[in-house]
Subunit: 294 residues, 4 copies
Amino acid sequence: MKRIAYLGLGIMGSRMAANLLKAGYDVTVWNRNPESCKPLVEQGATQAQTPAKAVENAEAIVYCLANDNAVEEVVFGQDGILSNVRSGQIGIDMSTVHPDTSRRQAAAYAEKQVEFLDAPVFGSKNESAAGGLWIVVGGKRDVFEQVKPILEPLSETIHYLGDTGKGTSMKLIGNSIVATQIQALGEAMVLATKAGLNPKDVLDVLHVVDFRSPIFDGMGKMLVERNFTPSFALKHMLKDANLIARFAQDLNSPTPAAAIVRETIKAAVNQGWGEENASALIKALELEAAVTVQ
Amino acid sequence: MKRIAYLGLGIMGSRMAANLLKAGYDVTVWNRNPESCKPLVEQGATQAQTPAKAVENAEAIVYCLANDNAVEEVVFGQDGILSNVRSGQIGIDMSTVHPDTSRRQAAAYAEKQVEFLDAPVFGSKNESAAGGLWIVVGGKRDVFEQVKPILEPLSETIHYLGDTGKGTSMKLIGNSIVATQIQALGEAMVLATKAGLNPKDVLDVLHVVDFRSPIFDGMGKMLVERNFTPSFALKHMLKDANLIARFAQDLNSPTPAAAIVRETIKAAVNQGWGEENASALIKALELEAAVTVQ
Amino acid sequence: MKRIAYLGLGIMGSRMAANLLKAGYDVTVWNRNPESCKPLVEQGATQAQTPAKAVENAEAIVYCLANDNAVEEVVFGQDGILSNVRSGQIGIDMSTVHPDTSRRQAAAYAEKQVEFLDAPVFGSKNESAAGGLWIVVGGKRDVFEQVKPILEPLSETIHYLGDTGKGTSMKLIGNSIVATQIQALGEAMVLATKAGLNPKDVLDVLHVVDFRSPIFDGMGKMLVERNFTPSFALKHMLKDANLIARFAQDLNSPTPAAAIVRETIKAAVNQGWGEENASALIKALELEAAVTVQ
Amino acid sequence: MKRIAYLGLGIMGSRMAANLLKAGYDVTVWNRNPESCKPLVEQGATQAQTPAKAVENAEAIVYCLANDNAVEEVVFGQDGILSNVRSGQIGIDMSTVHPDTSRRQAAAYAEKQVEFLDAPVFGSKNESAAGGLWIVVGGKRDVFEQVKPILEPLSETIHYLGDTGKGTSMKLIGNSIVATQIQALGEAMVLATKAGLNPKDVLDVLHVVDFRSPIFDGMGKMLVERNFTPSFALKHMLKDANLIARFAQDLNSPTPAAAIVRETIKAAVNQGWGEENASALIKALELEAAVTVQ
């Protein structure tokens, strides 16, 4: 398996495609805005005009798109992937979408004898650049084994979790934890500030105790430096929180803390902070507390 | 500084006192139930009949008690510490109590020219046994520097955070994060179970991703093994959640997620799980979801 | 305007259609299960075999269906309303659906020169039987004025609220308040029981004070009598809570209390109480409190 | 029973004392700031310099104070009520305090052979002026029967609920419902505004439906008129929310919605709106939604 079609060259995709090129794959790229293809063409990629064209000679078709709508369009739309696939190919959706979107794709691909994996990733800009993503995979195990070599240059770990939709299920569940952790950090930092603690001291403690998490280090540092440059934008965290809410609704699974966190994210986006980093949700807590962590 | 009075020999205290003995200190112990003094006497401690007697010749007076009421009694009560202290001694309260209780002690000690530090600890049975606690300290910095050698055999890290009450403030804030993390883990594991994921696979993923936390590993393992043997009992987490709520109330600091987590802890204690490990709060989420994580 | 097609004869529909007959309208009825048409035919209705047939000669087409899917099928489906409408007719959707479903219908009807109103109702079995519903209407005002005489025999009040979707928006907003009121009543009654108050005495007080509400009287009485016979089933309240959550999501409107109430409803449905009355959500609170209100 | 000591002449107390005078009672008044006694003296009251003096010749001792601290001082403090009571008198605390404060008073009075009732009131400025309060009473039934004639000129209804603390328990439970209703109204109005509904139309609907409540009428009207003149100040609602949280904590009773509402009240008070009417909590929801209801 040498020939890969890589579709969508955003923050994540451009870095992932570059890593596939570096790993020696023969990569055909497509992006809605063709400008973004340039740097990859310079690194050896072939550029295609449409998703349909891109997948023509590919063995594997890989994409990590912004949301369910983007998948809808690139896969099911006009000149989309499905319009030009053929038996034997493998589709790999690395986007964070609802498990139903994974299952709908699997079914549509299956009608054309094309295999499908949902393989979303944890990690953002830095991890995709470094080939250090954490990939979680759903689909047939033998298909997974077949494409594993493609996933390895992109990732630090790869977990196979079961049939179609198990990858995206795991991703949503994980993102639910992240959001709640950020909220916990935010409530803690706001309370600490009101209590007269030095926020940096609090982060020092959180760095060592037995409930430490890289989230507290990373998001905490950005918070006290008042740096909200996005590596994962708040508006995307809201999108995911909305997906999680629907996913928990489908399974009628009670998630009271996640539900409350979603409301905080809403409030932060309403203040106009959607393009900032996810940690900007903490600014909504600061607003409610009438205090700034610093 | 060689002579220490160590008061209260519960799960934490007995192990901390033993570590002070091992470190070569001359330790006088007292415990409400005198039986618990035996093993420490065998290790070289002197036994006292009352807190007042215990502190008589001590340079430092150390205690890590169950709650504000226990501190009230041992410090302010009949034959309590305050009835027999003298100028030059240093009191070190390592209990998890409300910062007001720290400040009230500091004031009472000060009237007798006794210095005071609030120095609560993160970590539970294993960390206290191993001398691997994470200590957070409030009080005068020079007093802290004086007693640091006593704290070192007990701990992996020691953070000085500012004046009286800053140690206990940090402790409550940290415990608030822990409780929310356990809730996040619980909501995630319940949702994962409903979604047909294997809980052990989920824990494997949570072990590597960039929001990993020792909490997810430790509490997660106990959960899937259905082992709720307490190292930190749920009833103590409820006690702390109640302290946190009051602390946040005093500062009028909004903590919506922590507030909701407290309600879940209440529900779990109402089911009779207060003596089980803190992770038993997840069983309240299982109850609401009518599902068992396994 | 004399000829009405009335589609869907459930708990609400059968009573509403009967009231239209009583008011002298010429009513053609259809129901998925044709058995339910019998009593209405006995009262003078004509029975049709499909929605398409039912609307053939109607001036107004009225329906109050279970949910968005039912509307989808009856309006847009095979032999559905849209397959047989003609210019000059007026469609009146009295179902509780997402405002987008109202707008989608309005657009589809408009293509066939058919007018459309969303006119959902507050009230349940008793109010529909008594012609005492509270109707809230969205759509063109002149169309509303035209059909007002049809709505009058069904209702105690009719409020015109603006263009298409305003009726269903109001309905969802109202139902959100109801659900939160039931939760408030439940939390209060559980707390009162734990405090040793007699629940009936509490209801007596709630009957007179300046925050009294018919909800507290009605739901409260059923609660203390342990009578959960549905007039509005809990599973429908969950359906509505899910609609409200999506509606608030679309507008990114923070609704923290409503979000938490939805989680309680989930828990109650998970216990198997979905077919009981909406007040059965209080049983989820009793479960969490390990107490029974009585 | 003709001679009444009435202590505390705030918004509520001044109106209640006036009604007792009007009813023909012989009233001795005391207020921390003696200025406030003047209008009552003009209406026939006798003025006392201290609580102790005020109660000297009284048969019934009545007070409706701001909070637990005020009760502490007026009852237990220097020159307080307890310093001068005698066998046969009856104390009637109409304040909203924790039931423990009621029980502590009952015990202290009992030591002096003085009877005690907790008899807090629902209603605020207007109701106290009009003698239209809703009184809820705890204590011995025969004592209640004895003082009923005194309560009647103050109230529209009087409910006897059981032994000491049952009145204050009922009061806190009721206030919990009020706060949740205001939150429900706020979430609804904010959502309605975002949905393009006219807030006044929404209030019209809420005025008639089967979950209507005088709260929606009263608070709703003030909201759309942007009138936040206090009849019951937000800071007092926060005080009560804090009492309710402690009361629910004492009984370990889960109150998830009330807990979330308390967080909203905190946020509103943090914005500086504590002196405005309780309905100003809705402004915190507006802030989170970045919208104004009007």
